[in-house]
């Protein structure tokens, strides 16, 4: 499960939709991470994706996983069509973090109801037991 996906996932339990605590999920510090350098960076693609990223949630998840180095604000690219060296550096960092980093094994839980979801072989399981479905 790519780190970008953590930015899209909330708790599956419908009742938690009424709380502000169901997104992002809380990631266990012992999650096993993997870096896939073989995925090439496509700046245009990444700029599109970056627009959809909820930055506060990303900072929180990165912090759960032990990376406290993200700036508090979403990095902004320079105006205009041409990408500066600074822009490219940001894009490369974001590519490395969002696309190349994935969680292979581990668990995450809802900060509202506490339900635990597992990630196995890189695939998150968001199914629910009958009493929560």
């Amino acid at each position: 499960m790519k780190l970008l996906t953590s930015n899209f996932l909330k708790c599956s339990v419908k009742a938690c939709d009424n709380s502000n605590e169901n997104f992002p999920l809380r990631y266990d510090a012992n999650c096993q991470l993997q870096q896939d350098e073989s995925i090439d960076c496509n700046p245009e693609f990444l700029i599109n994706i970056l627009e959809r990223v909820d930055w506060n949630a990303l900072v929180q998840v990165a912090s759960d996983l032990g990376n406290k180095s993200l700036p508090p604000q979403k990095p902004e690219l320079s105006p205009g069509d041409d990408l500066t060296d600074d822009d490219l550096a940001i894009i490369r960092d974001m590519h490395s973090l969002l696309i190349q980093t994935s969680i292979v094994e581990g668990q995450m839980s809802c900060r509202n109801c506490g339900h635990v979801y597992y990630i196995k072989n890189g695939i998150p399981n968001l199914l629910l037991p009958p009493h929560l479905a």
Binding site: T5, K10, E44, I123, L126, L127, L128, P129, P130
Partner: protein
């Protein structure tokens, strides 16, 4: 506005889907095309377009077309064709434009093959006065004679064409992607995998855009994810059946398919998730939803929950090794049967909330052919039904339904909650559609 005449040459298959694909791609390119002369029966469509760039952009992604040509003329036979070419107002202008370019001639034939001597035929075009050299490998220009034949009978073809077009090739289509995405060559596939041609055409009709987000809530082995990735979307899939999306090891799963196609950057993730208990955050705007819902032939329709709830009363308190059983890593939650009507209602409702305005929902729905009742198409007040393309099989058919999210102000017809399916499709299918 200046415009030029072009000839679109289409594949004569899946004819019910061709116009939907051409219209959807035109809309995607911002092209306003007059379809009044479009004829479902013919593989040819002569059309006015602003320029080659627009023509190329339009057809480049098409799977159900073969190519688009700059139109030079047409006739019932070679003599008429030459007369037609010479009489066109743009004839002299075109001749001058490409005079010095290297070139070659190609023949395209529809429903027949010629006995005529092709070299002799090419020589009859000498009046065009091309000065460039003939280059069979990398010519600057390719000229095509496109012929239509009418077979004598089902078994006997014709050798004399009844219609001929002449044009200069502007753009070949994306039809070769069918070979690339052919299921036979795909590393990971299953019984529910969807054929390449119509999954790619579905992605075109659904207007999958580069850099957008596409979601398949019934991903299975990822056929539609592959098609969406091919057209540049970031794709995410989910399925309640974890076995399907896990695949069979690292070399045979959905991710390995993306690696095989060189589209790895397009693939986000697949989630083991019940679509009706969705974990995608609700303010994430999705651009396209494209899927083939489980209609119960190979996979019964299931959602989370207990079929017999009484049996599960108190089960949430059961502990194993001091931990609630449902919090264990290998816990397998109960699933219960669900109806196709309800599932499609949920899908439309989800699309109305999750899709960006203008975004499309496209899904496949099966129907039996022999029922003497009208097929009821699911409708939602926020969604405009754009297309209903039918693919006929012997005793049943399936249709691609395509909707555009217009938002709450659209106030369209709505049939949510009514019983649409007359009988269970799965039961009918296994009974071979005998009552």
């Amino acid at each position: 506005m200046m415009s030029k005449k072009y000839l679109v040459y289409m594949a004569h298959v899946n004819v019910n889907f061709r116009r939907a694909e051409l219209e959807s791609l035109a809309d995607l390119c911002g092209l306003d095309i007059d379809f009044s002369t479009y004829n479902e029966e013919s593989p040819f469509f002569v059309v006015d377009l602003p320029d080659d760039t627009q023509a190329s952009k339009w057809i480049k992604r098409s799977v159900l077309s073969k190519a688009i040509y700059e139109y030079w003329g047409e006739g019932k036979n070679l003599e008429e064709l030459h007369e037609s070419i010479k009489s066109q107002p743009f004839h002299e202008h075109y001749k001058q434009l490409y005079r010095q370019d290297s070139f070659k001639f190609e023949f395209e034939t529809y429903r027949g093959s010629a006995k005529a001597n092709r070299v002799e035929q090419i020589e009859t075009f000498v009046y065009l006065g091309f000065q460039g050299k003939i280059d069979m490998k990398k010519p600057d220009q390719i000229y095509a004679i496109v012929e239509e034949y009418k077979p004598v009978s089902d078994n006997v073809g014709s050798t004399v064409p009844e219609k001929m077009f002449f044009g200069r090739l502007v753009q070949r289509s994306d039809r070769h992607a069918m070979e690339v995405y052919d299921l036979k060559k795909r590393p990971y596939k299953g019984t529910t995998s969807f054929e390449a041609e119509l999954s790619l055409a579905s992605a075109n009709i659904a207007q999958v855009k580069p850099g957008s987000i596409m979601y398949d809530p019934f991903a299975g082995t990822g056929s539609f994810l592959s098609a969406g990735g091919h057209y540049g979307a970031l794709v995410i899939g989910s399925d309640i059946d974890g076995r399907m999306i896990r695949g069979k090891g690292a070399a045979h799963n959905i991710s390995s398919n993306f690696k095989y196609y060189g589209d790895s950057i397009q693939f986000l993730d697949v989630l083991t998730m019940d679509f009706t208990h969705n974990a995608l955050r609700s303010n994430l705007k999705i651009d396209t939803i494209l899927c083939d819902p489980p209609y119960g032939i190979r996979e019964g329709i299931k959602v989370l929950g207990a079929k017999d709830p009484e049996k599960y009363i108190g089960k949430e308190e059961v502990e194993i090794h001091g931990k609630k059983s449902y919090l264990h890593r290998d816990y397998i939650p109960a699933k219960k049967p669900y109806s196709l009507d309800n599932l499609l209602d949920d899908l439309l409702q989800y699309a109305s909330e999750g899709l960006a305005i203008g975004g499309r929902l496209a899904f496949w729905m099966p129907t039996a052919n022999d029922e003497n009742v009208e097929t009821v198409i699911p409708l939602h007040s926020c969604l405009e039904l754009k297309y209903n393309c039918v693919q006929e099989f012997h005793k049943w058919s399936r249709r691609l339904l395509v909707y555009e999210n217009k938002g709450p102000d659209f106030k369209g017809e709505d049939n949510t909650g009514i019983k649409r399916a007359v009988s269970n499709f799965r039961d009918r299918y296994f009974a071979n559609f005998n009552k």
